[in-house]
């Protein structure tokens, strides 16, 4: 507990030092505030435009959250299918790599054209970008079961579905969480990128990416900074939520969760 407090104090100290440095740079180099606003101006912008900031944040949170949730559901189903045979994996696995390598910026206009601007299009982009790590990690977990455990199940005349749901799937949960951890970060990036293209179908209905675009076109640099701050907060919250869920589901039996407690 004491150690955690020290860590926290250190982090806050670094943060304070950065703020001081920031303010010093402004004073020494006489940077105009439309290029770099002062920390105080950013804080004021957060305060003054809190409702619109919060609404942009919640829109992006919903879009990336929906995309992530859908990628978990679809990713696990695809992985269960992949686990059925080596042949299926060999044939279809290259396409998941394709999914990972296709530049999201390049297909965003296409999706906009097909789905229309708005929440659904952005969630779809977040979904596409988060899908590959879920599929890859879950498949790995499903197929890397020890041979003797499979033999044990066979000795008790286990059915195919018992093998899948009582052995392979629980065995894959730690790997699934590795995938979710990666996906949670990139789903937020995907949503914000998506919003730059397909942000809003109505005025005031856009998320963080849309608002960033708007603030930069209006040279509201202090608000732009506030939005970036909000995006960071969102990414962090996703990450910690996933960490917590991972700990909650795995700490009783899995080694990686055990290590997390010790650290």
């Amino acid at each position: 507990m004491k150690q955690q407090l020290t860590t926290l104090a250190n982090a806050l100290g670094v943060f304070a030092a950065l703020l001081v440095l920031w303010q010093l740079v402004l004073w020494v180099f006489h940077i105009p505030k439309y290029m770099l606003p002062s920390p105080w101006a950013v804080a004021r912008a957060v305060g003054a435009r809190f409702p619109s900031l919060l609404s942009a944040l919640s829109i992006t949170a919903v879009e990336s959250g929906a995309g992530l949730a859908a990628s978990i559901v679809v990713g696990v189903i695809v992985a269960l299918f992949f686990a059925q045979s080596r042949w299926v994996r060999r044939m279809l696995y290259p396409y998941t790599i394709l999914l990972q390598t296709v530049p999201i910026v390049a297909i965003a206009p296409l999706i906009l054209m097909w789905v229309g601007a708005g929440t659904a299009a952005v969630a779809l982009i977040a979904f596409i970008i988060s899908l590959a790590p879920i599929i890859a990690n879950t498949t790995q977990g499903l197929v890397s079961v020890e041979e003797n455990l499979v033999h044990l199940f066979l000795m008790h005349n286990a059915t195919r579905s018992q093998l899948l749901f009582k052995l392979r799937l629980p065995h894959a949960v730690p790997s699934l969480f590795v995938g979710i951890r990666i996906a949670s970060g990139i789903s937020v990036i995907g949503a914000i990128t998506g919003e730059l293209y397909a942000g809003s179908s109505s005025v005031g209905g856009g998320g963080l990416g849309y608002s960033i675009l708007y603030a930069s076109s209006q040279l509201q640099t202090d608000y732009l900074f506030a939005l970036v701050l909000a995006a960071t907060v969102l990414g962090f919250s996703f990450f910690f939520l996933v960490m917590f869920l991972e700990w909650y589901f795995l700490h009783r039996w899995h080694e990686s969760a055990l290590k997390m407690e010790v650290e």
């Binding site: 020890e146 003797n148 455990l149 033999h151 044990l152 199940f153 066979l154 000795m155 008790h156 005349n157 286990a158 018992q162 009582k166 052995l167 629980p170 065995h171 949960v173 009783r252 039996w253 899995h254 080694e255 055990l258």
Partner: protein
């Protein structure tokens, strides 16, 4: 109980693991396979369990093919093969659960088996909280929960220190006295084989084949004190001698 006739197993083109094994094991016997590494003793066990298919020859277990006989067989692996996400009692109940035994009966059987291996106080623990010896006891309890008539064991105590190994050997014999199953046991340890078995099959390698069969006529039931007797020593000497002869060949 078990009949192996002309049993041969080859992998790929040339490699012969087992060459025409003929062996009959009757009900109530405790037979150990011992031999140099690569003599196919684990393969023989997998063939009896139906986890591998022979290249030629036949196996019958109580007149059935190995796969059909699985209901009467339990297999204990070299590592404890516990499911880490299940508690001790859920692990013990696994076989019953897979075979569709209803939950009340499962609970009753599970707690009975945990008591038998002396682990009822750990029933809600997870495998990672157990020592190597305890894990193996859970594995044994799980194998016995389905009331097998034939127990196949593939070096189950190889990873344990000698103290826990001896203790588990004694416990295993006690369980056998109570439950009367037939056993086929694979081991590297001569002393272990002598202590447990009513018959030892010494295998030679390249290709794997039966070198000698030695009945162990030490009195039953056996206790820890047996290990200090001259008769036990004599049996160990005899088996070691046969094992050396098999190695030289």
């Amino acid at each position: 109980m078990i009949e192996l006739s002309g049993l041969t197993k080859r992998y790929g083109a040339g490699q012969t693991i087992l060459e025409s094994i003929n062996l009959t094991i009757s009900k109530g016997e405790f037979v150990s396979f011992i031999g140099p590494s690569g003599c196919g003793k684990s393969t023989a066990l997998k063939l009896i369990a139906g986890l591998a298919v022979p290249t030629s020859g036949t196996i019958s277990v109580e007149g059935m093919t190995p796969k059909n006989a699985r209901e009467v067989i339990s297999f204990i692996f070299q590592d404890a093969t516990l499911l880490p996400w299940r508690t001790v009692k859920q692990n013990v109940g696994l076989g019953l659960e897979l075979e569709g035994v209803e939950s009340n009966r499962r609970k009753e059987k599970t707690s009975q088996l945990l008591e038998l291996v002396g682990l009822q106080h750990m029933s809600d623990a997870y495998p990672r909280e157990l020592s190597g010896g305890m894990k193996m006891r859970v594995s044994i309890a799980r194998a016995l929960a389905t009331s097998p008539r034939l127990l196949l064991m593939d070096e189950p105590f190889a990873a344990l220190d000698e103290m826990s190994r001896d203790r588990l050997n004694e416990q295993l014999l006690r369980l056998r006295d109570e439950q009367k199953w037939t056993a086929v046991f694979v081991t590297h340890s001569v002393a272990e084989a002598v202590f447990l078995s009513t018959r030892i099959v010494v295998l030679a390698s390249n290709p794997g084949r039966i070198h000698t069969m030695l009945p162990i006529e030490l009195p039953l039931p056996r206790t820890a004190a047996l290990r200090d007797t001259p008769e036990f020593e004599a049996c160990v000497m005899q088996v070691s001698h046969a094992l050396r002869a098999a190695l030289v060949q």
